[in-house]
C-alpha cells in the first residue's frame, strides 16, 4: 500500500511536470526509452514467432517420424553424482530420507549397476548414450598420448591457433581454435530432438563443448577455467616458498608491507600479442587487521574481504587489446593476515554472461541462465577440491562453496522445470560426490586423513546432512510433479573410503615391468624418469594401466598378439587379490581385461587393464601424477578421503522412479532407452541397454 501510494504520488508529480514541456534527463530518459524499446522489441519478436509458427509446425509435421503414444509428457531426471546405495538405503531405513521413501513406495527403488570403471565421466557418458565405453570412447578423466606418454584430457580436445597475421607486436588469428568433444555415439537427447521432443540438459558431465540438438544445454565436467586448465587456484602470499602444489594450484607473490600489499592476477595467455604473454590484472590489498577485514582494489573498484570467509563472485576482466576483454568469475578468501598475508583466488570460471568459449547450447543459453539466476560457476569441477587438499582453504570454505554451487544448480533446475511444458529435463547435482570425497574422513573412525581432534565437529555429519538435503530437493520436485510426469532419480556410482593409496607404477617397477632411466629415482612427475625401451607396462590416469605395445606406443616393446595376451594374463593373475601386507588386507580385488569388458570401435583407446580396488583403496596421489618412486601402499592423509574408483561391483548407484519398472537389477546403460520408450520411441539402434519400463505394462503409479 505504501509503495502504491508513493508510486501514485510520483506519477502525479511527473504527469504534472510534463506540462512544462521538458524532458526528464538522460538517466530517466534512458529508462523510459529503454522500456518502450523493450516492449516494442518484445512485440516484434512475438509477432515474428507467431508468423513463423505455422510454417514451423508444418515443417515439423512433414519431418515427423512415426512414434507410439508417449507414456509421459515430461520426463524429469535428477542425477546425484556419487550418491551411494548403501548410505541411501541406511538413511531411508532410519526415516531420514522420507521423500526418497515416498518415491520408492510410489514407484520403485533399486541399486543401479554402474560402468567399468565406476567413475563420473564414464558413467554419465553411458547414461547419455546408452552404450558401453567401448562405443562412447570415454574411459577415464585422463587419456595418454601414446607418442609422448603424457596425460591428456579424455573428453575434449582444445586446440590452438596455428596461423596468424602479424602486424608489429600484434597477431591476428586466421582461424578459431578447434574445440571438439571426444565422446562418441549419440546422446538420447539428440534422438529425442530428431523427433522434435525438447530436452533441457543441465550440467550433465561430458557435455563440453556442447552439441547442437533440439533443446538447451548447459555444459559441465571438463569445461575449463579461464586459464584453460581443469581448475587452477591462485595463492598470493608473502610467504616465500619454492614448493609447487601437487594439484591444480599456483603460488604467486604478494608484495608490500604494513597494511598495503600488491599482486597481479594471472589470466590466460594473450594470443593476440607476440610471445603470448599472460594477461594480468594488478590489484592492491589494504588490510584492517583489527577488524580482520580487507579491501581489494582493482582499478577503481573496491571489493570487501573478511578473513576466513569465502567472498561472493568477483568479476575479473582481462584486457586483450583495447576494447576487447575476457571475463571470469573468482571467489576469494583471505586465509591469513597476521605476520604473513595470504590471499586465495578460486579457479577463474568462464563468465556465463559472455563466455570466452562455447559452454552452452544455444550459445546464449548460459547468458539466459545468468540473467535468470545470477552469476554461477561454470567450471567443470566447480568445487575447488584441490585447494582444500593442499590445505589452502578449509572445510568451512569448501562447504560454503559446495552448497552455493548446489544452490545455483537448484535454481537452474527449477527455472527449467517451470518452463518445461513437455519434453525431458536432466540435471546432475555434483555436491554429493564432492562432499563425500572431502568429508569422508570425518565419518570414518580411524581414517588416516581424519583431523587430529575434532577440527570442526559440524562436519562429522556433513555427508548425512547432504543426503538429507538431496531428499528435501526430491520432495520439492515431487510437489511440482504433474499427472503425466515421470520422475527418475539416479546416481552414477556409489562411494567408499579412500584410506590407502596404491602406486601401481611402483608395483610395476618392483615386479620388473617398468624400468627407470639410469641415475633417476622415479620421483619426477608424468613418468619422465621411465626408460621406455625396457618398460612393458605403465599406469597413467586413475583407473588402470597400459601395456607398452609396439606400433601403438612411441617406444613400444611388447608385440601385439600373443605377447600382449600373455602379459595381460600374467598381470591379471598378479594384480587380482594383491595384498597390502601392512594392513593385512586385499588392495585390489580383480584386474579386468578391457578387451573382454568392452565392445565397440573405440575399445582400443581404453587402458589395457582396469583395476578393481577393494573398499578403502585407490590409486595413490603419486601414481596419479606419474611418480614411480615411493611405497606401493601408503596412507592417504589428504582431505580427499572418500572415493569410488574401485571395483564397480562394490559401488552401485541408486535408481528411483515415480512409476514401477519391469526389470530387475537395472544398469546405468538402461536409462537412455528407457527415456526414449517413455516418449513413445523405440530404443535407438546404437543403444545397448534395456528399456526398464515396457509400454505394454506401463501403468501410472497409483492407477
Amino acid at each position: 500500500m505504501k509503495l502504491f501510494l508513493k508510486t501514485t504520488v510520483l506519477l502525479l508529480v511527473l504527469m504534472w511536470a510534463a506540462s512544462a514541456e521538458a524532458y526528464v534527463g538522460p538517466g530517466a530518459g534512458f529508462a523510459l526509452l529503454g522500456s518502450f524499446f523493450v516492449i516494442f522489441a518484445t512485440m516484434i519478436l512475438a509477432g515474428v514467432s507467431l508468423l513463423i509458427l505455422p510454417f514451423r509446425t508444418l515443417w515439423r509435421m512433414l519431418r515427423r517420424r512415426s512414434k507410439a503414444k508417449a507414456l509421459a509428457k515430461r520426463v524429469i531426471v535428477v542425477g546425484f553424482d556419487g550418491q551411494d546405495a548403501r548410505m541411501t538405503e541406511k538413511l531411508m531405513a532410519e526415516g531420514k530420507m522420507p521423500n526418497f521413501s515416498r518415491l520408492a513406495e510410489r514407484g520403485c527403488y533399486s541399486k543401479l549397476q554402474t560402468t567399468y570403471p565406476s567413475i563420473t565421466p564414464v558413467a554419465w557418458s553411458t547414461f547419455a548414450t546408452g552404450v558401453n565405453p567401448g562405443k562412447h570412447n570415454i574411459f577415464d578423466f585422463l587419456d595418454r598420448d601414446p607418442r609422448t606418454y603424457l596425460p591428456r584430457l579424455s573428453s575434449a580436445h582444445i586446440g590452438s591457433v596455428e596461423r596468424f597475421f602479424k602486424i608489429g607486436k600484434f597477431k591476428i588469428p586466421m582461424s578459431k581454435p578447434e574445440i571438439r568433444l571426444l565422446r562418441k555415439s549419440k546422446a538420447f537427447w539428440k534422438v529425442l530432438g530428431e523427433h522434435h521432443i525438447w530436452s533441457t540438459i543441465l550440467r550433465v558431465p561430458i557435455t563440453f563443448p556442447p552439441e547442437k540438438f533440439y533443446g538447451a544445454q548447459m555444459g559441465a565436467m571438463c569445461i575449463p577455467d579461464l586459464l584453460g586448465t581443469q581448475g587452477t587456484f591462485m595463492l598470493f602470499s608473502t610467504r616465500q616458498s619454492d614448493e609447487s602444489f601437487q594439484e591444480g594450484g599456483m603460488r604467486l607473490p604478494l608484495e608490500g608491507e604494513g597494511d598495503h600489499y600488491r599482486g597481479k592476477i594471472l589470466g590466460p595467455e594473450n594470443i593476440l600479442i607476440k610471445g603470448d604473454p599472460p594477461m594480468e590484472i594488478p590489484f592492491e590489498l589494504k588490510l584492517d587487521r583489527e577488524r580482520k577485514k580487507a579491501e581489494l582494489k582493482i582499478g577503481g573498484d573496491v571489493f570487501p574481504l573478511e578473513q576466513g570467509t569465502l567472498s561472493d563472485y568477483l568479476k575479473l576482466e582481462f584486457s586483450v587489446v583495447p576494447g576487447m576483454k575476457v571475463a571470469g568469475l573468482s571467489r576469494l578468501m583471505l586465509t591469513e593476515m597476521e605476520k604473513e598475508v595470504s590471499l586465495y583466488f578460486s579457479p577463474i570460471n568462464i563468465e556465463p554472461e559472455k563466455p570466452a568459449m562455447p559452454i552452452s547450447h544455444p550459445s546464449y543459453y548460459s547468458t539466459y541462465l545468468e540473467k535468470r539466476i545470477g552469476e554461477f560457476a561454470t567450471l567443470g569441477l566447480a568445487e575447488d577440491t584441490w585447494a582444500l587438499n593442499e590445505k589452502i582453504t578449509d572445510d568451512r570454505a569448501f562447504w560454503t562453496q559446495t552448497q552455493d554451487v548446489e544452490q545455483e544448480r537448484e535454481e537452474m533446475f527449477f527455472t527449467a522445470l517451470d518452463k518445461l511444458r513437455s519434453g525431458c529435463l536432466v540435471t546432475v547435482f555434483d555436491a554429493t560426490d564432492r562432499v563425500q570425497h572431502m568429508y569422508w574422513r570425518y565419518a570414518e573412525e580411524g581414517h588416516p586423513a581424519a583431523p587430529e581432534g575434532a577440527e570442526d565437529p559440524r562436519f562429522e555429519d556433513a555427508i548425512r546432512e547432504h543426503y538429507e538435503k538431496n531428499d528435501a530437493l526430491i520432495g520439492r520436485v515431487m510437489d511440482r510433479l504433474r499427472e503425466d510426469d515421470v520422475l527418475i532419480v539416479l546416481s552414477d556410482h556409489g562411494f567408499s573410503s579412500f584410506r590407502r593409496g596404491v602406486n601401481i607404477n611402483a608395483w610395476l617397477l618392483k615386479e620388473g615391468y617398468l624400468h627407470l632411466k639410469e641415475g633417476t629415482d622415479g620421483s619426477t612427475e608424468w613418468l619422465q624418469d621411465v626408460d621406455w625401451s625396457k618398460t612393458r607396462a605403465y599406469a597413467v590416469g586413475l583407473v588402470g594401466l597400459f601395456l607398452n605395445i609396439r606400433g601403438r606406443e612411441e617406444h613400444g616393446i611388447v608385440e601385439a598378439g600373443e605377447e600382449v595376451e600373455a602379459l595381460k594374463k600374467e598381470l591379471i593373475e598378479k594384480l587380482s587379490g594383491l595384498r597390502d601386507d601392512e594392513k593385512d588386507e586385499v588392495g585390489i580385488n580383480e584386474a579386468f581385461d578391457t578387451d573382454l569388458t568392452y565392445r565397440g570401435p573405440y575399445k582400443g583407446n581404453a587402458p589395457d587393464l582396469l583395476l578393481g580396488y577393494n573398499h578403502g583403496y585407490r590409486i595413490s596421489w603419486d601414481c596419479a601424477s606419474g611418480k614411480v618412486a615411493g611405497k606401493i601402499f601408503e596412507d592417504n592423509t589428504k582431505a580427499w578421503s572418500g572415493d569410488h574408483i574401485i571395483d564397480p561391483r562394490l559401488v552401485p548407484g541408486i535408481f528411483l522412479c515415480s512409476d514401477p519398472v519391469d526389470v530387475e537389477n537395472p544398469h546405468i546403460v538402461d536409462l537412455a532407452p528407457t527415456i526414449l520408450n517413455l516418449f513413445g520411441l523405440e530404443k535407438a539402434p546404437h543403444m545397448e541397454g534395456r528399456g526398464l519400463i515396457h509400454p505394454a505394462s506401463f501403468r501410472r503409479a497409483g492407477a
Partner: protein
C-alpha cells in the same frame, strides 16, 4: 519561483552571452555535458542500482525465453506478460532518481528554451500580441507602442477568453517595452527585434506557478495587476545540424535530448551507473 528565476536569469544570461552566436548544436553539447554528468550521478546516488540491474536481467531473460521457446506460444505470451511486469517495475525504480533529476533539468531546459526555442522579430515582420486579462475590460485597454513598432490592427476583444489581441509590425531593431494601460493602471511586456541571439520572452506570466516555471524570462505580474498574462508570438527558431535545418521551438530540445543520451551512454560505464 519568482525569487529562483531572478537568481537563475543572470546566470543563464551571462553564460549564454559568452556563447554569443555559436551554433545551437555546440551550445547544446556544452550544456548537455554537465547535465548528463549530474543526471548520471543522481541516478546512481538515488536509485536502487542492484534492483535496477536485477530487473533488467529479468527482462533480458524473458527476451531470451521468447527466442529459446519460439515453438511454444504459451511460453512466448508468458514471457511477454512477465516483461510487462518487469518494465513497470523498472519504471517504478527509475522514479526516485527522477525526482532529483527533474527539477534542475527542468529549470535548465526552460531557461535554455528562452534562448533557443524562438528567434527575435526581424524588421518588417509581424507578430501577434495577446493580453489575457482577469476580467472583462473591453475597450478600456490601450496598447502604447514605442517608436520602431507599429500597430497593424486595433485591439480585437475576444470576450470568451478575456483576451485582447493586436497585430504589430517591427520597423527597427531594438529591445522594446510594450505598455498596456487600463485607466491609471499599467502593465508592460518586453519585445525584441533583431540583434544578437538573446533571451526572449514569448510570455510574461501571472502568478500561476507552472506558468512562472515555464516562462522565466520576465517577472510575473503582481496579484493586483489587471493582466493575467501577455504573449508575443515570436517565430520559432531554426536549428541547423549536419546540414539539416529544422524550424521548431522544440528543435534544439531534440538535439539536446539526443546529445544528453549519447553523453550519458558514453559516461555510464566510466561512472559505474546502471541505467
Amino acid at each position: 519561483m519568482e525569487a529562483l528565476n531572478s537568481i537563475l536569469r543572470p546566470i543563464f544570461d551571462a553564460t549564454n552571452a559568452l556563447m554569443g552566436d555559436w551554433p545551437v548544436w555546440l551550445v547544446c553539447l556544452i550544456w548537455a555535458i554537465p547535465l548528463s554528468v549530474f543526471a548520471l550521478w543522481a541516478f546512481k546516488k538515488f536509485s536502487n542500482q542492484d534492483a535496477i540491474s536485477a530487473t533488467k536481467d529479468k527482462i533480458y531473460a524473458c527476451l531470451f525465453e521468447i527466442r529459446l521457446f519460439n515453438d511454444d506460444i504459451r511460453a512466448i505470451l508468458r514471457a511477454q506478460w512477465e516483461i510487462l511486469g518487469h518494465v513497470l517495475k523498472y519504471q517504478a525504480l527509475s522514479l526516485k532518481p527522477m525526482i532529483w533529476i527533474l527539477p534542475p533539468t527542468l529549470l535548465m531546459m526552460v531557461h535554455l528554451h528562452a534562448f533557443y526555442g524562438f528567434r527575435a522579430l526581424r524588421p518588417g515582420e509581424e507578430a501577434l500580441v495577446i493580453a489575457t486579462l482577469k476580467a472583462e475590460v473591453g475597450n478600456e485597454l490601450r496598447l502604447e507602442l514605442p517608436s520602431g513598432l507599429t500597430a497593424e490592427t486595433p485591439g480585437v476583444w475576444a470576450p470568451e477568453m478575456h483576451q485582447m489581441a493586436w497585430r504589430i509590425r517591427a520597423d527597427l531593431p531594438g529591445d522594446y517595452l510594450l505598455r498596456f494601460r487600463k485607466g491609471d493602471q499599467e502593465a508592460t511586456k518586453t519585445l525584441r527585434v533583431g540583434g544578437r541571439r538573446g533571451r526572449l520572452s514569448p510570455e510574461r506570466p501571472g502568478r500561476d506557478f507552472v506558468a512562472q516555471l515555464e516562462w522565466p524570462s520576465e517577472e510575473p505580474f503582481g496579484r493586483a495587476s489587471f493582466v493575467q498574462k501577455i504573449n508575443v508570438s515570436y517565430p520559432e527558431a531554426v536549428v541547423s545540424f549536419l546540414g539539416l535545418e529544422m524550424q521548431s521551438q522544440w528543435a534544439w530540445m531534440i538535439l539536446f535530448f539526443v546529445m544528453t543520451m549519447v553523453i550519458a551512454l558514453a559516461l555510464k560505464k566510466p561512472m559505474g551507473v546502471e541505467l
